[in-house]
Amino acid sequence: MNQLQGKVALITGASKGLGQAIALAFAREGAALALCARGELALHTVATECRLLGAEVLAVPADVANPADRERLVSLTLARFGGVDVLVNNASTLGPTPLPLLTDTDPEAFEDVIRVNLVAPFLLSRSVVGGMLLRGSGIVINVSSDAAVNGYPGWGAYSAAKAGLDGLTRVWAAELAGSGVTVASVDPGDMDTEMHRAALPDDDPAALARPEQVAPAFVLLAAGGAPGSRLEAREFMEKVGR
């Protein structure tokens, strides 16, 4: 139960869906948490739930795509906890739904998706990796998607951003090899979340995994480092016998 005792985890997009499930799972395992999301009320609810599980929690309402918000998130976290051991870049956006074809995609919406799903994870990682390298330990986990490797109609902006994020993950991992800092991306698979319902309203929720079933993969990664740079959550769990 205490796999993350003594560790500090910064989780973006922590107010709902997978981010919320990861926050709760990390709290159960003894991690101290810095949680961020745009929705203040939902964020504080999750923060309270985590505190009830015994975790020390810093909740920072912030938009990861906004540079000043990012600096506030990073500095408040570092000032409160002294460092970050685990960064989970989970916050992401689909852009406008119903999902448009590329030919019909609004240019600003496209850029917005890239900013939130690709640029923000890069810049947040860059802000915390320096401290991790000084200490010689840490892990960054980027939440990917099967849209990163498959061409699903309507998923253009999201797909491009997640493919870019996978590319970043591979390069980070190669550049940081041997430093004690690892970077991995995880494809959590299809889950029953608000985002999934917005993208594919006709899917049967009963056929989908629940976020709390996937969160343990993140606990294992955070506790033990990454066996490779791109993981599918389900396969990873099978591999480690859970």
Partner: protein, 342 residues
Amino acid sequence: MIAVETEFPLLPAGLRAPRPAERRGIRRDHVRLLVIDRETETVHHSSFDRLGDVLRPGDLLVVNSSRVLPAGVRAVRASGQVIQLRPCVRRDGSWDALSVQAGPPFENIPLAGGETLRIGETAVLVVGRRPDIPLLWRLRVESACDLDLILRHGEPIRYSYVPEPLPLDAYQTVYASKPGSAEAPSAGRPFTWELLSALRRQGVGLAEVVLHTGLSSFQDDDFDEEHHLFEEWFEVGPETARAVNDAGRVVAVGTTVVRALESAATWEGRVLPAQSWTRLAIGRERPPRAVGALLTGLHEPQASHFDLLRAFVREPLLRRAYAEAVEQGYLWHEFGDSALII
């Protein structure tokens, strides 16, 4: 207060680096490096990324991992006048801050004891002037988290030779991880992780201290020349203390590191873990005991910084080095070139 006589000519204004290396078209680690060799009494010219040429296995680089805050904080007076507060010393919701104009030339704006300012929605009470440094105002900040207030309402402190505002990120070192400085500990700014990793592979150690900087200027030339000292918070952890005591040669990256390590040093030069306030001034009267070499930015001879350099280098050699740096067009200040006193 320390009086410093300087017979140095003024620095030509054109040599003040107006923006970071990356915005001048070169990598941050490609700034120039002036190497001042005390043993051979020679000065030679290199590039920052060639630092490995002059360091040897067993050397220990000690960096200041303090992260800069946007410490020019927008505040509003009861009259509606917008000012900028620059907290120099912060403790427990109490600031000793400079009060200046909200934009260039950022001249001092006197406040009144007892008046209330606002930073966003937060009330700030002006208690009065700080007795020993009257340009600083004692302020009581009615906020549970004054750091959040600074991060929400501040911008990086900027001096007149930097023509346009820069994002805070431009001021950070690549290892900045302990938020708290009012101004960038800029000596380490040219480091890239590529260079740091290469130096590590070469057998050069790397350790961190924290010293949160206060203000380098009170925006008043005459007052600045009097070199008023104020306290700054520093931390030297047990691992760093051990590494320093075991190192062949301790290379401080910046004068902030010198102050932190020397504040934690016994008179024989052994460093003990410490975290405290310091107002230690290193100079010829108090030479360094633990630090052996210094990597630093280039700052004007008038700056108090200079007295510290004289604790490392005999003055004739230092004067020669400075003259060569000016002649060769080295760039000065936080975005400029570097010097290594080895």
